[in-house]
Structure formats: structure tokens, C-alpha cells
Symmetry: D2
Subunit: 162 residues, 4 copies
């Protein structure tokens, strides 16, 4: 079962810029993470963008949707910043594609040691295989449908709206 | 959705004994791993045993089966050594309980840095929520049914029998 | 041989604030690092401040100097942000105390995984035992005297002035 | 100041063999560790052997001594298993070379996450620059002279004999 994996950036893939003392985007860690997970799924990775999700535009979301629509694979995982993950999920969900799409991310960069990234990646790759068509978020061990999820910003986790 | 998590030991939970220079069992890392994964599932953890799966006896497997049968939860994850994980899955599978049971483990101890444990835990906790009743192994990103899986010992991964 | 260890903050001790997505000061990691190093030196730790060294004031430097002067110990290690480490070293050096004082820090926070912090701490604690009275920086495996060192900001390392 | 670094194996450089579930020697981690420490010393690395120090023979120790004698550098660091580190130090110490030689090692493999290796490497590279001619062990933040040190095996640390 082939899986398409789209990279869009987010905390997941941030590195530490030791010259300027701040997080920044260097390159995706997804290949290292798949290797660490001894993952043997047939996963095709493509980086669409490398942005902080707070800076993601409507055009960026349209690009993600186009890529989901055109992907040959029926099962798609998208790594995404947590701040606007629910917003992108809404754009994808309203498009109603006949595919299973799972967005995931991380609260702490994978490169910073105490990250939830590897847990979330294992979770997203599993949900995408087992869930029916639809658009979902995989965070905190849960899966959420695109029309019933929000980030609790002060708590730093995701929850159902109702 | 409440999930029961049974600990049986395995590489997953080995530590390094720096006095004798070898891996050993100290205590489970599952609570730290759930915290790292920012997991917010309702998970009830119980340690059944702490053994290398090569030393697991028929009585041990019977004990695991009894605990699965008696658990109030319909969804159960079991951490287990990889060497005889498929054997324990067979015992559980043949019992035909009306529950979803997912076994998982790790090739490298969680405490040793480059472990697949966190990825596998995220994977197992997701599959157990999304799969129907049955007994499964979650390893290498895949899920396997209990009657169609074997560890490839020389390669260090799991594969279907047919 | 008792050693005094003063904490002043710096990259060394930064954590990642997962709610706001940026490095911040939480608490010092020095105790965990000494434990990790299996350090059995007699080290007395005291946190003087917890600041980014770019925000360190003349009054802060005066406070550090006072603490060095009043310390019962003849050997003192100071953890410090790298950006103005040389400046603080100059203040201490010009005071000409009859003590061995070694400043050290890190380019990457200890909590972020790929840090030079543990290496530098081992280095500073060793130099402070073996060097004569004076004020030194221990970075990049080297020791520098306070009046002959500068941070190469674009390169992210320390070097002699002449 | 050029430093010679001889690798002889020991816990320091053990990896985890995930096929057989035990520590083993793969390749030295010293280059990665020097990089992590942002070390800018002029260090020339040479692997002499890759053995558990309990299996080190008199011939092995003779080989180490020959290499120390013939090295162009006056300052030498040797990574070594902790179990017989003091024994090798004695062989080197009795030879009375006009060099500064520092042996170090680790209680936990560098690759296993919670290692003292990076701390000890920083320590050894600093002591070797600052100490006079002689043979020393750098462990637990201390330096010991070759004729006054023993490993406390039950405690897992080094101490003076008198």
C-alpha cells in the first residue's frame, strides 16, 4: 500500500541556528525519522514548502490541495506546523477528495531531543492505513476529523470542538 | 476510548547496566514515552512481567491471555520482545477474543537513543483505535495479522508469511 | 579540591518553549549534566542569574565579580552566554583575583540534543583544576586567557586576538 | 599544540547490535564527538585496536606503549575500556616517557544516549594540555596519576588508592 508523504515545514522540521541562536528551517528530518522507525512502508516523500504554519498563505494551501488531488496515491500524510494545521485540514476536507489524508506535526522540533515528532509520525502513518476516506489530524495519540478539531494554544494540544 | 496497555518487557524496556556492561531490565519507560509523545489518550498501564521474550514460557503467555480476557477495555496494546512476539500473538489470536489487540516492541532499547520504540508506540496506539477486533503486530510501520507474520531474524524486521 | 560553579544563563541552559515555539530559560541543567558526566568532584553550584548574555549589564558583571571575590573556593567555573563571554572575562581579569576562574558556555542548548555543553563542561572543570591563577575561557577544546580572546560571530567559535 | 588521540575500544565506542540484542564494536564515534564538542584543537586520531579492555593482552599494551613512544606529538589522549584502564596506565607510566598521556573512557557507550563519554573527552583533552609530563587517568571529572588509581568496580567509578 503506497503512501504519499508531503512535507510543508512546521516545528517538526526546525533546526537550531547556532550562529543566531534561534530555530530555523534547514532540511527535512523525515528520512532520518523513517530510518529510525525502521519503517518499511512504501513511502514517497515530497517537500512542498518549508514554512512556519503561521506564515502559510491561501495560495500555499491551494498548492497543498492540488498536490493531494494529483497524487497517484490514495493515502497521504502531510507534516505541518501545528498553529494552522486545522485551517489547512479544513481546506482539504471541504474539497472532499476520495482519499485518506492525515496531517501531523510536532510541538518540539525533532532535532531538539524531547520531540513528539517520532511518536506522531508513527501514529499518522498508521491512521492513514487504517482509516476510511476523509481528512484527519493525528496529534496527541488521537485522530480528529477536519471539521471537529482545534488547537488549544495555551495548553499546547489538540481537542474536539464539540 | 479507553486503552489498556500491558508491559511484558522486551528490548523496548531494556536499560544499560553500567556496572556489568550489559543491557538489563530496570523499569518500564512507557510513562516517559507517553509523556514525550504528548499522548492524551486514556491509557491504563499495567506491567505483567519484565522478561526477554526468548525466556517467555507457555505459562507467561497464558497469563497475558488471561489479562487480555479479563481487561475491561476492548482495545489493548502489549509491549513485547520481538523474538517471540509472533508466538504470543498466535496464542492470543487462537483465543478469538472480541477485542482489538496490538502487540509492538523495539529493535533497540528506548533508553539507547536510536530506538524505534517511540515510533512503534505511536503506531500501535493508533492501529488499536482504528482496526477491527483481532490480534495484530505493529512493527516497521506495518500491521500484521497474528496468523500471517514472522520475524526475519537475520534482517531484523517483520514480514508476511505469504 | 572544592570548585565553585556559578550559573549565569546563556544558550547552555536554554529550553524550548513549546507553547510559543522559541528558546527560553526554565531552569539550569547543570545538575543533570554533572550526573551524566558521573562527575565526582566537590562542586558547589549557585545560580547568580539566568540571562541571555546580550542582555547582561555592567551591574550584572559587577555581581559576578563580587561573587567570585567572596567565594571561599579558589577555583571557579562560570557558565555564560557566548556572545559577551569575553567581555565578562575582561571585567574579572582586570580585577586580578588570586583565583583560577574559567568561563564556559555552549553554542547549542544542552536540552536540544546536539549540544557542545557537556564537552565544554568537562573541559572547563578540568582546566580549572590544572591551570594557575588567572581568568580563562574554555571553548572549542581550547583555553584562552581573558585578554587574548574574541568570539568569531560569523563562524560561531572562539579565537585568539593575536 | 598538536594532540595525538589513540583509540583502543572500550565501552566508549560500543554500539548496539539490534540483530543479536547486545553491545558490540562497529566503528569509533570519536569524530562525531569532536564535531559535537565543536572541538577546534589540532587532533590526529588513530585507531590502534577495538577491544573490550577485559580482553586486552600484554601484547596489546606493548603496542599502545610503542605507539606512544613513536608518536611525534608530546601530548596523547587514549580512549580505553574502564575495566583495565589502570593496568594499561601502569605499563605506560613505568616506561617514563617525556610526554603527557591521558587515558579516558566511559561507563556507558556514547551511542546509548546517557553517556559520560562527551564529558570525559572534553576533560581528557583539557587535562592533556594543562598537565606536566606523566601518565594520567581522566574520569569522573578527576585526574589520577597512574600509580595511585583503581576502578571501584561495584560503584562504577575511579578513586585514589591512598
Amino acid at each position: 500500500m503506497a503512501i504519499r508523504l508531503f512535507i510543508t515545514g512546521g516545528t517538526f522540521d526546525k533546526d537550531y541556528d547556532e550562529i543566531h541562536g534561534r530555530p530555523y528551517f534547514h532540511d527535512t528530518h523525515i528520512h532520518e525519522m523513517l530510518r529510525l522507525g525502521r519503517c518499511r512502508l512504501e513511502v514517497a516523500v515530497r517537500t512542498l514548502m518549508m514554512v512556519d504554519s503561521l506564515e502559510m498563505t491561501a495560495a500555499d494551501r491551494e498548492l497543498i490541495l492540488q498536490n493531494c488531488r494529483q497524487a497517484a496515491e490514495e493515502r497521504i500524510v502531510i507534516t505541518h506546523g501545528t498553529d494552522t494545521m486545522a485551517e489547512t485540514a479544513r481546506v482539504l476536507g471541504e474539497a472532499g477528495l476520495a482519499k485518506t489524508i492525515v496531517l501531523t506535526g510536532a510541538m518540539v522540533p525533532y532535532a531538539f531531543g524531547s520531540s513528539d515528532g517520532l511518536f506522531n509520525l508513527g501514529s499518522a502513518l498508521s491512521f492513514v492505513q487504517a482509516l476510511p476516506h476523509g481528512v484527519f489530524l493525528a496529534m496527541n495519540g488521537h485522530h480528529f476529523t477536519w471539521d471537529n478539531v482545534a488547537k488549544n494554544r495555551s495548553g499546547g494540544f489538540f481537542e474536539r470542538l464539540r
